[in-house]
């Protein structure tokens, strides 16, 4: 069991988790990563400019609650909807004719997608394994070009005045 997000306001955790499911088409649940990714989203937001972070989170709270107003939601918040309904509600915001609403949907989806597809397990599953590649080509570089590498490193700090005295 992964600890609940400490950087995300506690009240927003269910909505964020529901959003993670929508953005990843439920794959986060199949991998058992939903809670962890919701927490990671909170971390991604920490260094954001304060107004942007506040806007994204306030938008999420509003989005969660406004879902109640849709007849098909039958009074439930976004975080309580079935996956199909949740997707439909998010889609409505994604295609909203109101620019800031659309902007919010794109922005929050972006951070969720970053947090999910940057997860080591997810990266591995889609065939992205750069560590081995980096080790291989780094060794090749050192083997084939050691002399050149050393020569340039020396050039970088060798005296070479811009203006001769």
């Amino acid at each position: 069991m992964v600890a609940r997000s400490s950087t995300l306001p506690r009240g927003l955790v269910p909505a964020m988790e529901a959003l993670v499911r929508v953005v990843t088409a439920g794959e986060s649940d199949r991998r058992g990563l939903t809670a962890e990714v919701a927490q990671a989203v909170g971390e991604v937001l920490v260094p954001f400019p304060a107004h942007l972070r506040a806007g994204l989170l306030a938008g999420l709270a509003t989005f969660d609650q406004l879902a109640r107003m849709r007849p098909s939601s039958r009074g439930r918040a976004f975080s309580r909807l079935s996956p199909e309904l949740a997707e439909r509600v998010f889609k409505a915001w994604w295609h909203s004719p109101i620019f800031p609403v659309r902007q919010w949907a794109k922005g929050i989806k972006g951070v969720v997608a970053l947090a999910y597809w940057d997860h080591p397990e997810v990266r591995g599953a889609i065939g992205f394994a750069p560590e081995g590649w980096i080790a291989h080509v780094t060794e090749r570089r050192q083997r084939d070009y050691a002399a050149d590498i050393a020569a340039h490193a020396e050039r970088v700090t060798a005296p070479n005045p811009l203006v001769s005295k």
Partner: protein, 505 residues
């Protein structure tokens, strides 16, 4: 003493409650502009201190971890955005070495036509191509500008080249500041092999070798003045603690977004009224094309080629591989469509374009002194971007793409060249463009007229004594190619002027 830092570099652990210094030349910012001018002045014998808001980083710290890197080496967690129609997301480095630590390594001289225009329209002294050539050469010597070794080629770039070749379009290998680049495609997250010759591994060691000192983790809040003479700075240690530095000369090199705001926060007025105006962005759009075979864009160099067929129209194309988190973040999908795209991650080619913009914006000072950049794309630039994006799609289909994700908000994915043709007749709203940039320029323009320019031809701020600017804000206009080498060459040239005229004495 923080043992992890090299000699001459200091961090918050070394400071105690307050930092108080009295120095010769104070350089604020250690990126393309600040790093270069600090090294040149240090070698000339000046007492140089650099203050940098970001942390010290080492090659060993750089790993293919986009999310972690964005949180540590990018300002604002990479989420900076201009206000306007449409908003433009932009990135700035915040680390010793500045944005050069996270940049793509494309190293191009300023096009001759741009230098000539600056001389003609802005009266830049000794700024013509012949006068500038020795400065480009010197920079290229230190940052090792070279063509790639063949084994570092990546498939996404080969596909871009194949498409351009089939269409008989001009495509050229990129010149990059690298020493036997291994082709790890990790440039934007810090080069893990040390091959990219960023300021962190070139001019910073050079500056230290000649006695400069670098104070990291210090944010400068304002410049101090005695009348019109700059006398130093006040700031704070990131994480707590005050900073006060007296200096005989101050050089501001915080980049085109932060520099004008620092000048304004310090109460500086310019007779030109142009501190913060004339912001150019080289706005980028990008498209994601799906191929039948593996592209594996992460195996090989970042941006091996540039399509230059449309350079005279101010447009460049490149293949820009993105790690999964960033691709998913920027893809125009969510849910099932996004999952499908990402399941085929290794078959995706992400390509982008850069526009030499005619639109300009301005950076204002926001609440708490933060920069608020405003920028709205002109209708003409929007049209140019839409057309260029569709031309890029045409190239990708010629290269064998099976489909391309919706290039503009509200449009469908493209299944072939006919769809591209169809979209050419469609009126794309500015708000449907998703724009991004890493090239911010021109908010403290240099030139010969104090009524039109903030700085003189050599970066000295008009109306102030002892104060210079040395970064991308000096550009009188956008340049249509990657800007790092221009910034470095200008900083070298301006350093030479200061040394020869004893301008800092």
């Amino acid at each position: 003493m923080n043992r992890a830092l090299p000699a001459g570099v200091f961090g918050p652990e070394d400071y105690g409650k307050a930092v108080k210094l009295d120095v010769g030349v104070l350089v604020i910012g250690s990126g393309a502009g600040g790093g270069v001018i600090a090294a040149e002045l240090a070698e000339a014998g000046y007492d140089v201190v650099v203050v940098e808001e970001g942390p010290w980083a080492r090659t060993e710290d750089f790993r293919p971890e986009a999310r972690r890197t964005i949180q540590t080496l990018y300002r604002d967690g990479g989420a900076s955005m201009s206000i306007g129609n449409p908003p433009v997301i932009f990135s700035e480095g915040r680390v010793v070495g500045g944005s050069t630590v996270i940049n793509g390594g494309m190293s191009w001289r300023t096009p001759d036509a741009i230098l000539e225009r600056w001389v003609r329209d802005d009266g830049i002294e000794h700024g013509d191509p012949t006068s500038m050539a020795p400065y480009f050469e010197r920079v290229e010597h230190f940052i090792n500008v070279a063509y790639q070794d063949p084994e570092s080629a990546s498939r996404d770039n080969e596909l871009l080249k194949e498409g351009a070749d089939k269409l008989n379009w001009k495509v050229i290998p990129n010149l990059r500041n690298q020493n036997h680049c291994a082709g790890t495609n990790n440039c934007a997250w810090g080069c893990p092999t040390g091959a990219k010759q960023s300021v962190l591994v070139t001019y910073v060691p050079r500056a230290l070798r000649f006695g400069a000192r670098i104070y990291t983790g210090i944010r400068v809040d304002r410049l101090t003045f005695d009348g019109t003479r700059a006398t130093g700075i006040e700031g704070r240690v990131v994480g707590g603690g005050s900073v006060s530095i007296r200096a005989r000369a101050v050089i501001v090199a915080c980049g085109a977004i932060q520099t004008p705001v620092l000048l304004k926060r310090s109460g500086l007025r310019s007779a030109s009224g142009r501190i913060g105006t004339d912001l150019s962005l080289h706005p980028n759009t990008k498209v994601q094309a799906l191929f039948d075979d593996d592209v594996d864009g992460w195996k090989g160099v970042h941006q091996g080629y540039q399509v230059r067929e449309f350079q005279e129209e101010g447009v460049l194309f490149a293949a820009v591989n993105l790690p999964p988190g960033i691709l998913a973040m920027t893809a125009p999908h969510f849910g099932r469509d996004l999952l499908d795209l990402m399941t085929n991650y290794n078959k995706v080619l992400n390509a982008g374009l850069l526009l030499e913009d005619e639109s300009t914006g301005r950076v204002r000072v926001g609440p708490g002194g933060i920069p608020l950049p405003f920028y709205s794309l002109s209708h003409r630039d929007a049209e140019r971007l839409v057309n260029a994006t569709l031309t890029l799609c045409e190239l990708l289909f010629t290269a064998g793409a099976r489909k391309i994700a919706a290039p503009f908000d509200g449009t469908e994915e493209l299944k072939g060249p006919d769809d591209v043709k169809r979209l050419r007749g469609y009126r794309v709203k500015r708000s449907a463009l998703e724009l991004f940039t890493v090239h911010m320029m021109g908010t403290a323009r240099m030139g010969n007229d104090p009524k039109r320019h903030v700085c003189d031809s050599w970066g000295k701020v008009y109306g102030a004594e002892g104060l210079w600017v040395s970064d991308a804000s000096l550009f009188p206009s956008p340049i249509g190619v990657n800007p790092m080498e221009t910034i470095m060459a200008l900083s070298t040239r301006n350093a030479r002027r200061l040394i020869e005229t004893r301008g800092l004495a």
